[in-house]
């Protein structure tokens, strides 16, 4: 019997159980719902859940143990029916049906929240195991401190991470240099100067930027910003002749990050109590002095948190780098040269017809682990700062 049929049958059973449970509870109380411990619907739900929960558990067990078989389907239905009978036998006016139902709902909620945690753990474990395999084939010192990245399938490749890390940090730095001042000033304008009508237009308009897929930003970098920078700045000054450059990717990524910084900072600046602004204005300081001396220092921890969240976005960004900065792994201070980042090389090492046992492929997992550690540390740091800030005003 196909799964869909089993599920349908179980649902029908559960619906029947609902009606039966509710009716049985009312009969036990001679039709007077006030003599029941819980409201009648809870007796119904209790019966329905007693059919659903064992059936779902049994379905999972039989699928794993027996595969798709008629025996499994029968066992599932049997579990559902047994659950209903058990629930109905317990349905008396004194039965604490509401508490039972709420227990089940709570268990469901806990299950959902643990899915995220379990997935994170799973991802970390898979990264760690694959990386461990990589480090058995390739010395970790060479990976962490090597300054050359020349993978060659067939042996003899140098897999030093530093050029990639350098590119990642360089591009992220430029992105933040673009995004932080613009985003912060936009936030200050929106929260302190803009009237409600302007704010109602400007804020969503800026947030539209956050909704653009990064590949579209990448195209913008490739066809517009890159050639523009090359023809107007890099080529005339003799700094480079490549359309792909750290500067291109950094600027475009910075534009992408503006809404992150401005939107978060705006919320944080708005959370600074009005009484502090009044206090400062009441002492005869101008609105701009108030913002500089009172509002921004009060909001600073939160703003730092916002910047760190933006930084971890920048570090994890791939598409803009592929199209904007190229794929050359090198360490150079010249922002008009092509460089590349960790994320781009992870994609590079895993796409194509690869042997998943060679260090050239497995290095992707080690790179992923490195990236994960960096962004995790940034996120934890950001959360720590944001939380510390929250305690101040609540």
């Amino acid at each position: 019997m196909p799964v869909s049929w089993i599920i349908l049958l179980v649902l029908v059973l559960a619906a029947t159980a609902y009606v039966l449970g509710r009716r049985r509870a009312l009969e036990g109380a001679n039709g007077d719902p006030r003599r029941l411990h819980s409201r009648p619907v809870y007796y119904g739900w209790n019966a329905a859940l007693s059919a659903l929960v064992p059936a779902v558990l049994m379905l999972v067990v039989t699928r794993l143990a027996l595969g798709s078989s008629n025996l499994g389907a029968l066992l599932v239905l049997a579990a559902a029916i047994a659950g209903v009978i058990f629930a109905l036998s317990r349905t008396t006016p004194d039965f604490r049906a509401r508490n039972m139902v709420e227990q089940v709902v709570k268990a469901g909620l806990i299950l959902c929240s643990s899915v995220a945690i379990a997935t994170t753990l799973g991802i970390i474990l898979s990264l760690v195991f694959e990386s461990a395999q990589f480090f058995r084939m390739y010395p970790w010192q060479d990976f962490l401190f090597g300054t050359e990245w020349t993978p060659a399938f067939g042996g003899g490749s140098k897999l030093g991470m530093l050029p990639l890390l350098w590119g990642t940090l360089y591009i992220s730095l430029i992105a933040l240099l673009v995004a932080v001042p613009i985003g912060l000033f936009a936030a200050i304008y929106m929260s302190e100067y803009a009237g409600p009508r302007v704010r109602a237009w400007v804020k969503p308009a800026i947030e539209i930027l956050a909704g653009i897929p990064t590949i579209v930003y990448g195209l913008f970098a490739l066809v517009t910003v890159g050639p523009l920078l090359r023809d107007w700045i890099a080529a005339p000054t003799g700094l480079g002749d490549s359309g792909s450059s750290v500067m291109t990717a950094g600027i475009v990524m910075g534009i992408m990050l503006i809404p992150f910084v401005s939107s978060l900072s705006d919320d944080i600046i708005n959370a600074v109590p009005q009484s502090l602004r009044d206090g400062s204005l009441g002492l005869g300081s101008t609105p701009s002095e108030t913002i500089r001396n009172v509002v921004l220092p009060a909001a600073l921890p939160g703003i730092v948190g916002a910047i760190l969240l933006a930084a971890s976005r920048a570090i994890g960004e791939t598409m803009i780098v592929v199209l904007g900065a190229g794929a050359m792994a090198r360490i150079s201070g010249n922002p008009f040269e092509a460089m590349t980042t960790i994320t781009v090389k992870i994609v590079g090492q895993l796409t194509g017809d690869n042997d998943f046992a060679s260090p050239e492929t497995l290095v992707a997992f080690a790179l992923g682990l490195t990236l994960f550690v960096i962004t995790l540390a940034l996120n934890i740091f950001a959360l720590y700062i944001v939380r510390k800030y929250r305690e101040q005003y609540e």
Binding site: G195, P196, P273, S275, L276, R277, D278, G279, S280, L281, G282, L283, G284, S285, T286, E289, N293, V294, P297, A298, Q392
Partner: protein
């Protein structure tokens, strides 16, 4: 607290500091203050009393143009400070607020050190040329706010870490440090316990020697204790204004009498 000393100190000043003529305030469509005329004396504590929503805080905020920060508020009429109209186009509200200080209902110390809180105004207005002068202003203001002895050993600690009463006295010290001529207080004791309240009240009486103090209060006992002049507001009107003793013992208007005997409000 020494109640007697407050009662005994006589009105020594008759000089008019603030003079309001035909003041109207609108919040959007709401007519919050209706044609208020009042003369506030120098070196005197003037209390504004009245039921909630009667407009006393709104009128107080007119005197240092804090209503300018609210978009929907509109003020008509004339308010003269030392004979000059503060709503004149040539007057910068920022400069005005340095002359007319304000203490708010809830203590609102900045998230800075105690020292930086008090030094905030003097720094902005350039009142001290050297670090020594600034130290002097801070000490004098904290002494003036009867807080110096409690905080002199921890000036670099956060102002937000003080108790509620200390925070409010810090805010008073902060207002005093800017060397204003008028001090407006919007229910300065409503968030404080009785002990802190009596400390602040005592302080208000001392401040009278140097400033014209205007205090909005919900507590009629407080008005009777600290003020020499009292104004009773009701539904946006200034119903009665006179010496505090007269208002509380011989009110002229039946509304005033109802309020102080607890029938309206």
């Amino acid at each position: 607290m020494n109640d007697m000393s407050i009662v005994e100190r006589k009105l020594t000043q008759d000089e008019i500091k603030i003079s309001a003529r035909g003041v109207q305030v609108y919040y959007g469509d709401k007519h919050a203050i209706k044609d208020v005329n009042v003369d506030i004396l120098d070196k005197t504590v003037t209390a504004f009393i009245g039921p909630s929503g009667c407009g006393k805080s709104t009128f107080l905020r007119c005197i240092n143009r804090m209503n300018d920060t609210i978009d929907a508020a509109r003020v008509d009429g004339k308010i003269l400070l030392d004979g000059e109209d503060i709503y004149d186009k040539r007057v910068d509200p920022v400069q005005l607020r340095a002359k007319v200080g304000m203490v708010f209902q809830k203590p609102n110390p900045f998230p800075k050190s105690i020292y930086d809180n008090v030094a905030y105004g003097p720094r902005i207005h350039g009142l001290a040329r050297t670090r020594g002068e600034l130290d002097e202003i801070v000490e004098k203001s904290l002494r003036g706010a009867a807080l110096w002895n409690e905080v002199k050993d921890r000036l670099q600690e956060a102002g937000t870490g003080l108790s509620g009463g200390q925070q409010q006295r810090l805010c008073i010290a902060r207002a005093v440090a800017t060397q204003p001529e008028v001090l407006l207080m919007d229910e300065p004791c409503s968030a404080l316990d009785p002990i802190a309240t009596s400390q602040v009240e005592e302080l208000i009486d001392q401040l009278r020697q140097d400033f014209s103090v205007v205090i909005v209060t919900h507590s009629m006992q407080q008005a009777a204790r600290v003020s020499q002049k009292t104004a009773f507001f009701h539904l946006g009107n200034l119903v009665e204004y006179g010496a505090t003793d007269d208002i509380f013992t011989r009110p002229q208007d039946p509304r005033t009498e109802s309020y102080i005997s607890g029938r309206i409000g």
